[in-house]
Symmetry: C2
Subunit: 303 residues, 2 copies
């Protein structure tokens, strides 16, 4: 089943009428993950008619306001809608205490569990894993501690070759063993190689979220061969000095990372509010990488 990424905000720092602030919702068959949670995220869900009650994990890259100020309102709304399912928040230490203080201030006694999982930015690390996917965090390079995230699908079973099954008498209890990759052993001891019974697996899906960061090729090992790479591109080449000073990236730098990582598709966003027209971002990125999408608020990317 396809994954869908919904862009909830493609701007940075100062919101405009066209671009709100950071937030992306990744829906897979089994998960609903929110990456960053800027002010007004809950309004975007309404505006784009997106189901958001099933969000089970929120990943916060860093603590700049344009990435976190929607957390308090979203949690309050979950509370008012009588959520009971726990909500996991992956973030550096500190947001938990602020949330506790804010909900004390607003007299909000949550009736669901808010579970904070602390990030750290010292190395690549698995922060969540189940039978379907795993999620890594890895260090980015920004003015304050900041992590990227890499979500990758697990190969949890092979597809069986129907034609082979129809022509051979395979006992039912063998099916799941074959799907896991075992060779088949007949009653007479003959071994049939798994590759004859199963189909080659489809390419596995993966998504990387890299916001905010300066050009930092050290991340490439963490996102190698990613299908969809979101990488911030706050500035164009003309403003590279701003990118350096503020530890952000240019579109061209984002594209260099996509090339180095052998990504399938590059999605850029987090555009500075000074740019009304962002054609230049695409042009400059395309000098380094062929397949570039510029994020727009409300955009869906299915992959």
């Amino acid at each position: 089943m396809d994954w869908n990424l919904k862009i909830l905000g493609s701007g940075s720092a100062l919101p405009t009428n066209k671009r709100k602030l950071s937030g992306q919702l990744l829906n897979t068959q089994y998960h609903s993950f929110l990456f960053d949670c800027s002010e007004g995220i809950q309004f975007r869900f309404k505006e784009y008619n997106v189901k958001f009650f099933s969000i089970n994990r929120i990943f916060i890259s860093h603590f700049h306001g344009d990435h976190i100020f929607g957390v308090f309102g979203l949690i309050t709304t979950f509370h008012m809608l009588k959520r009971t399912e726990p909500l996991f928040i992956y973030a550096f230490k500190g947001l938990d205490k602020v949330c506790e203080d804010i909900f004390k201030l607003t007299n909000t006694k949550l009736e669901f569990e808010l579970i904070f999982v602390y990030l750290n930015d010292d190395r690549d690390k698995v922060i969540f894993e189940d039978e379907h996917i795993e999620v890594h965090s890895f260090p980015l390079k920004h003015r304050i501690p900041c992590c990227g995230f890499f979500v990758k699908e697990k190969l949890n079973h092979l597809n069986l070759n129907k034609e082979f099954l129809e022509n051979n008498d395979i006992p039912l209890d063998w099916l799941s063993r074959l799907q896991k990759g075992e060779d088949f052993v007949k009653n007479d001891g003959e071994i049939i190689s798994n590759s004859k019974i199963t189909l080659p697996p489809r390419p596995l899906k993966s998504f990387a979220y890299c916001s905010d960061t300066s050009f930092f090729p050290e991340i490439v090992d963490s996102i190698k061969n990613v299908k969809l790479l979101y990488h911030e591109a706050t500035f164009d080449n003309e403003h590279q000095k701003d990118a350096i000073n503020k530890l952000h990236s240019t579109a061209e730098e984002a594209a260099k990372i996509a090339t180095l990582a052998n990504a399938d598709t590059l999605l850029i966003g987090h555009f500075s509010s000074r740019f009304i027209n962002i054609n230049i971002f695409k042009e400059e990125a395309k000098m380094q990488f062929y397949n570039v999408i510029c994020a727009e608020d409300g955009m869906d990317i299915t992959f």
Copy 2:
């Protein structure tokens, strides 16, 4: 000069596409006051093309999330826009500490002064005064401590009757004394009554902000003869039990307050998100008070 009230959000608790959460901007010739500051207020300013950099005082009625979650983003935006003017926030104790913690978390070192003035809800009290206006806070009745606000224009000078001035020889240094209400004493000792020299003053402007509260006639003394009364009306009569349980008001109750206070105009808002059509609110309010406006997001009221 006229006062203008801009409605930034007319809904309550759960935002909808049509109604965002509480916030009203009052502009007079000399002041720009924000009453409550819900999530996304800074987006509303952009959306409605409202100048907001000159806001100098924010009045926070109480600490429910739908009245305060826009504070952090708005202050951060002031910071990014290089504000230097101090910002006064009138609120109960506690928001100052949370702001301090949040700006520490986001590594935001404000370069303007954030001055918190603590409210208390024990009695009617002058919380701000200058030569043009005074602002009172007064207790409302809600689930947590909550204050209303009353802004009233001061009579700072009388207008002189030009015809009288043209026909009489009044020394220049007397003019400001006459504007303050003194009778004129001629050189020969004759006294001319001030009422013959000055025009009757125009009616003074005033605005009261009452959100959130149950029906609470004790507030009437604090808002007597107010020109524009904003009073919350979260429910219609059919849901009066909800109003009672949640310490909110119905439209009819808001209108009763307007009648008791001898208000000129009643503005109702803070409508529960369950109501798509709010005609019933106006109908029920009009049974008690003749001049009712239902708040809509983006509405301007000039008075």
